[in-house]
Each structure stands twice: as structure tokens, then as C-alpha cells.
């Protein structure tokens, strides 16, 4: 039992906190809007080995654990870095499991992603990182298919300035089966729950810093108890979300029987928490929180958006319920 980062994990964190602080300051995030992608930043991140870090050394990867990757992802989330780290890492890990060629992906020369919702009629709608990915993995019926084709570069404008785009899959080839797909989606869920913790933590920090400095009625607004309590609720949820998110990653990493359940739970709770943090933080910024000039709106919009790439949250609750208590109509016999 070790609920804080290990020394090794702390070392990883320090490296990547530094990397993102230097290479993906908020000006980079803003400059990448509305496309939501910075290919130069991707190249720099690739140079660190992060995209392939959680692949075996035997294929040129970093041989790191999913837990190590999660530490990088939390920092990525905190900085809103406009590069598809999670999608790439998860898609590439899946392809490797399937025995599909990942030579161009390990070091990030090409970008891979995964369609989170099943493809319909040979196309995947609004795929995360779909605008910029050279390789798209998607479920199609009982198969999982792989498309090799450069992304269109841009996709529809959206709340989070994310590079989502529709992708045509007619030239895709089958690489695996739907059975193995669940694991990939769960990795995405768990890693994004960690990313949401990073986002929430930074959003909360922006709010805390603001209310310490902002003077109204002759005192810092952070002295008002109602504001303190809103921020304290946010901090409490965030601590809970952080522990759940990393537990989900650990569970996947160590093949715990409840890993899938925890991944689904962690994402829903992490998203709700990050949204609460951005809502409180923006509110306590007053009007400035709403202005483009301040950074909290960047966090607020992404907190809304990230989860929805997966679809309706209520369907995620329904999916978890199906697993936990059996599908509707089974009267809980599966429990």
C-alpha cells in the first residue's frame, strides 16, 4: 500500500512537470486553438519517449508501467497540452497486443488514436484526435479495425477546441476482436480520469491564487467563508478523485478483478470533480473568469468536453450498472 507517488514516480513527475511547463505553457495551448493540436509540441514530446513509454522495451518502448504513464498524463492534463498523448498511448498499446505493426508509432513519428464509440456503416464519428491521427483503431461489429491514413488536419469546431473529426474506415483492415477492445477503452477511461485530476487541480489552483490576490470590500475575496467553502468542497472531491483515478490505473496495471469497474467509476467521478473545480474557480474569478484573457475558461471548456468524446455520461452509468447488477430485465440475477 503506497497511496503517494513512489520515488521513481516522483522523478517522472518532476521531469514532465518541467517539460510541459517549458514546452506547453498556456500560450501554446491558446495558439493551438481551435485546432487543438501542436505538431511541434508532439515532436518534442516524442523526443522524451512519452508516447511509447508504456510499451515494452523489446519493441523500442520505455518499458514503463501504466502507472508511470499516468503520472505523465496527470501533468499533461494540468497543462492542457494540445497533443493526443492518451489516445496515442492507448491505441498503440492495443495494436501491440494485437500484434499489429507499431514501428512508426512507438517513437511517435505517426500519431495513433482510437474511436471511442463503435463505428457505424464503415465510419467513425467524431473520433478523438481524429483530425490529426495517421492511424485510427475502431471497433466495427465484432472486429476491431485499423485505418492507415493521414487525418484531415482539422475537424468541427467544438467546446473544448479538441481535434475531433469523423473518419471514414472503408480502407481499414481487421486487427483484433471486440473482446480485447474493452481493455483499451478502460485504459482510456482510467488515464483520462487521471488527466481530469490534473485539469481539476490546476483549475482549483488558479481559483485559489485569484481569490488570495483579488481585493473586494477591502479584503482578499478568499477571506469570505462562502468562497472558502466552495473551494474546500472542490479540494475534497479532487483528493477523492485523485485516489480513485490512480487506484483504477493501478488495478488495470496489476490486472485486479475490479479494474474495469474502477476505470469507469474513476472517469465519471473525475469528470464531475473537474467540472466542479472549474465551475467554482471560474465563478470566484467574477467577470474575469468569463473573459478570454484569463486561463480558467480554457479549463472550463475542456472539463466539459473531454468526457463527452465518449458519449452521454448517463450511458456510462448504465453500462456500469449492467456490469454490476445485470442488464435491465435480468432482475439483478447477474449480481
Amino acid at each position: 500500500m503506497r497511496t503517494r507517488l513512489t520515488d521513481d514516480e516522483t522523478a517522472v513527475k518532476e521531469v514532465f512537470d518541467g517539460f510541459f511547463a517549458n514546452e506547453s505553457p498556456i500560450a501554446i495551448v491558446r495558439a493551438a486553438e481551435p485546432q487543438g493540436h501542436d505538431s511541434e509540441l508532439w515532436s518534442k514530446l516524442a523526443a522524451t519517449g512519452a508516447p511509447g513509454m508504456a510499451l515494452p522495451e523489446s519493441v523500442g518502448g520505455g518499458g514503463a508501467s501504466l502507472r508511470d504513464l499516468a503520472v505523465v498524463v496527470e501533468s499533461w492534463g494540468a497543462h492542457l497540452a494540445p497533443v493526443p498523448l492518451v489516445e496515442h498511448a492507448v491505441a498503440t498499446r492495443f495494436l501491440h497486443t494485437c500484434g499489429s505493426d507499431i514501428d512508426s508509432l512507438v517513437a511517435g513519428e505517426q500519431i495513433a488514436t482510437l474511436a471511442l464509440r463503435d463505428s457505424v456503416a464503415g465510419a467513425a464519428r467524431l473520433v478523438p484526435a481524429g483530425a490529426v491521427a495517421d492511424v485510427v483503431v475502431a471497433r466495427a461489429g465484432n472486429d476491431v479495425v485499423r485505418l492507415n491514413e493521414p487525418g484531415p488536419g482539422t475537424g468541427p469546431r467544438n467546446t473544448g477546441d479538441l481535434p475531433i473529426a469523423d473518419r471514414e474506415l472503408s480502407s481499414a483492415e481487421t486487427v483484433g476482436s471486440a473482446d480485447e477492445w474493452t481493455r483499451a477503452l478502460d485504459e482510456w477511461r482510467a488515464l483520462m480520469s487521471v488527466a481530469y485530476c490534473g485539469l481539476g487541480r490546476q483549475a482549483l489552483a488558479l481559483g485559489v491564487d485569484y481569490v488570495k490576490d483579488r481585493i473586494q470590500f477591502d479584503v482578499p475575496v478568499g477571506t469570505f467563508q462562502a468562497i472558502q467553502h466552495g473551494l474546500a468542497d472542490a479540494a475534497t472531491k479532487l483528493e477523492g478523485a485523485h485516489l480513485l483515478a490512480h487506484r483504477a490505473v493501478w488495478a488495470l496495471d496489476t490486472d485486479q478483478p475490479d479494474a474495469s469497474r474502477l476505470a469507469g467509476m474513476a472517469l465519471l467521478f473525475g469528470a464531475e470533480t473537474a467540472r466542479f473545480c472549474t465551475d467554482r474557480s471560474l465563478q470566484y474569478h467574477g467577470g474575469y473568469g468569463f473573459s478570454e484573457e484569463y486561463d480558467i475558461q480554457l479549463y472550463h471548456r475542456r472539463a466539459s468536453a473531454w468526457l463527452l468524446q465518449l458519449g452521454e455520461p448517463s450511458l456510462e452509468y448504465a453500462r456500469l450498472a449492467d456490469d454490476e447488477i445485470g442488464p435491465i430485465g435480468s432482475s439483478g440475477e447477474a449480481a
Partner: protein, 388 residues
């Protein structure tokens, strides 16, 4: 108790609906995507019907129409998603001038506001004073017969299309902050004024305005020298009157209903047949009926001649907080499609829910934050001691 409208007000509601059906175009609604929540032709047409002058008391030179008609007009415009901001601000500015303005202002400015040929905007907030509006630092100093104004205002929304700004200034820095304030009406073409856009996370554009040795005659003063706080109270009174009816949610709920009835989920089902969606829709419709109760209440009080105060804060608090919640729930209901903005041709109903999602956070901030509203309810309604 009686929640019915008199026949003449019901007739007015019908008139407003017909007017909006004939005059409010999708293009006018979509045009607000440039950041300015105003439709000049609509404004002019309404002014021509006397609707801008409508709520202004007759003895002050307005049309003195029923407060119930005001709430009906406001309600119908919001239900139709009509741009309402510029109209609302003009009514408040005209009302302030009629109550506190010099003969010069009443004669030369008010008629232009009421006939729709000029627009006004608010100049209260500053970079260092938002909720604490009485801490304004923009200085007005006498120089002979003139005043010289220096300072900066934030959130002067609509300034870039307005003719006047009603400006809160400090004329005595040496007394308690509420006691050294004076209001002016400032023509925005006066030399020394600079208007800079303030873009926001939603489509709205606001402005920062800067005042560098702006010189004005005393006829532009509104209210007494160092009597600005009394004018501010009048301003809030009229603002709350206008704000009495708040219906930000219906257009979002309409869009949600449309989506729920027409979208198809991966399993072939429609969202409308999901009990979790249905419960959310009903909860949001209940919130709208609560808002309607507040609206009718404030209108009824105004009609009785009872000036309300804390009711306006309650309405604003409830309407904006519930609206923000509705936007979140319905964007979530749409899944990934909820993210698509109005820039895309295939966005559902022009990206209406998404646009409201981004707009909603400001509604619990502007015009009095939810925190300030709660303070006012705690002190003014419950009689709790001041926190500080």
C-alpha cells in the same frame, strides 16, 4: 391570490408574439454570433411601437404601460431567443435619467433612447471593483464649468455600438467610499474615450473603456455631486425590475426536447424514451415554472406600486443557477454532438445548447453574483447580521 393576466395584457402578449413572428428572424438571432447581442432593426421596430418607452412611468415622460406588460414583453422575447440586452439597458438608462437627470438630459437624450435612435450602456465596474462597485476609482474633477474624467471601466458591454455610457465616478476620495461618488452621462464620441473589445469564452463581446482627460459640462451630471450612491440604488431598482422576469432556460429546454425526440442512440433507442432524460426534462420545466412565479410576482408587486428588492435577487439567483445546471445536463445528454459549435452547419439547432453552455457561467456573475444575491437575501430577507 390570482395569477391571471387582465384581458388587455393577454391581448398585448398576443401582439408581442405576432410581432416577434413577423419581425424576429433567424438571421437576427444568428447575427449575435459576432458578439453583439443586439438587433438594430428589431430594436427600431419595437421603439416605433412605443415598447421601449413602455415601462417608463408616464409622469416621467414614458408610456407608463402596465408592469405586467413589461414582464410579458420580456418573457416573450426571451422565449423567442430575441436579443434583449440593448433594449433592457436603454430602458434602465432612460429611467435613471428621468429620475435623476438634468433638464438637458431629459430633453436631449431620453427621447432618443426611447425612440430607439440612440443606445446607452452601463459604466459601473472597473478593473479593481466588480462586486464592490462602490470602490470605483475613475476620477471626475471640476475644472471651471467643466468636469475632467480620468479612469477605466470594465464590462461596458455594448459600448462599441452605444451613444452614451452612464458613468460612475469618484468625486471625493476623502470620504467613506459610498459618499464620494457622482454619476455622469457621457456621450461616447467625446474626445479622450477609447473602447477596447473584451472577448469572452462565449459569443458575447464586452468592452473595456478608457477615459483620458474627458471633458464634460455640468449638464451631463446625473444626480447630486457626491450623491452617486442614490443614483446607483435607482439603477439597481430598475435593473431588477427589468430582471424580474428571467427565462434563460426555455430555449435550451426546447432544443433538448427536440434532440431527445429526434436523435437515435447506438442501440436504436431515442433519448426521450430514457427515464433519466425524462426526469431531467421535467425537473428543468419545473424550474421554469418557478421562474414564471417569480416573474409574475415581481410584476404584480410593481403593478401594485410596491417596490421590490430582495425578490429581484431571488429571481436572479434561482434563474441563473438553474439555467447553468440545465445547460450542463443537456449538453451531456447530447453526448459528443453536444460539443459541436454554431460554426458548423450541421450543429443541432445551430449549436444552441453548446452556445448556452458557454454563455451560462457568466449569468451567475454579471448583474450581481450569486454570492452577492445570497448576501442580500440573508441580510434583507432573513435579517441575519452583516458578515462584515
Amino acid at each position: 391570490m390570482d395569477f391571471s393576466f387582465p384581458p388587455e395584457v393577454e391581448a398585448f402578449r398576443t401582439e408581442v408574439r405576432e410581432f416577434l413572428a413577423a419581425n424576429l428572424t433567424d438571421e437576427m438571432i444568428a447575427a449575435t454570433h459576432d458578439g453583439t447581442i443586439h438587433a438594430p432593426e428589431l430594436h427600431a421596430a419595437m421603439a416605433a411601437r412605443g415598447w421601449i418607452a413602455g415601462p417608463v412611468p408616464e409622469e416621467l415622460g414614458g408610456a407608463g404601460r402596465s408592469a405586467l406588460e413589461s414582464v410579458v414583453l420580456n418573457e416573450e422575447m426571451q422565449l423567442a431567443a430575441a436579443p434583449v440586452d440593448a433594449m433592457a439597458v436603454s430602458i434602465v438608462v432612460a429611467s435613471i435619467l428621468l429620475e435623476h437627470g438634468s433638464p438637458h438630459l431629459k430633453d436631449s437624450v431620453v427621447p432618443r433612447l426611447l425612440d430607439g435612435s440612440a443606445l446607452g450602456c452601463f459604466g459601473y465596474s472597473e478593473p479593481e471593483s466588480g462586486s464592490d462597485v462602490a470602490a470605483a476609482q475613475t476620477k471626475a474633477v471640476r475644472d471651471g464649468d467643466e468636469w475632467v474624467i480620468n479612469g477605466a471601466k470594465m464590462w461596458t458591454t455594448l459600448a462599441h455600438i452605444s451613444d452614451y455610457v452612464i458613468l460612475l465616478t469618484r468625486t471625493d476620495p476623502d470620504v467613506a467610499k459610498h459618499k464620494g461618488l457622482t454619476f455622469f452621462l457621457v456621450p461616447l464620441d467625446t474626445p479622450g474615450i477609447e473602447i477596447q473589445p473584451v472577448p469572452t469564452m462565449a459569443v458575447e463581446r464586452s468592452n473595456a473603456t478608457f477615459y483620458d482627460d474627458v471633458r464634460l459640462g455640468d449638464e451631463w451630471r446625473v444626480g447630486d455631486v457626491n450623491g452617486g450612491w442614490a443614483v446607483m440604488k435607482t439603477a439597481l431598482k430598475y435593473e431588477r425590475g427589468i430582471a424580474g422576469g428571467q427565462f434563460p432556460s426555455p430555449t435550451v429546454i426546447d432544443a433538448a426536447l427536440d434532440w431527445a425526440q429526434t436523435a437515435e442512440r447506438a442501440d436504436g433507442s431515442r433519448p426521450i424514451d430514457d427515464p433519466t432524460v425524462r426526469e431531467k426534462l421535467m425537473r428543468s420545466l419545473i424550474d421554469v415554472e418557478v421562474c414564471r412565479g417569480f416573474a409574475y410576482h415581481t410584476a404584480s408587486l410593481a403593478e401594485e406600486g410596491v417596490m421590490f428588492g430582495v425578490e429581484g435577487s431571488m429571481t436572479k439567483l434561482f434563474a441563473s443557477e438553474s439555467y447553468k445546471r440545465h445547460c450542463r445536463e443537456f449538453q451531456d445528454m447530447m453526448g459528443v454532438d453536444g460539443l459541436i459549435t454554431h460554426h458548423n452547419d450541421d450543429a443541432h439547432l445551430g449549436g444552441r445548447i453548446e452556445e448556452n453552455l458557454r454563455h451560462s457561467p457568466v449569468t451567475t456573475i454579471y448583474g450581481g453574483t450569486s454570492e452577492i444575491s445570497r448576501n442580500l437575501v440573508a441580510e434583507g430577507h432573513l435579517g441575519l447580521p452583516r458578515t462584515r
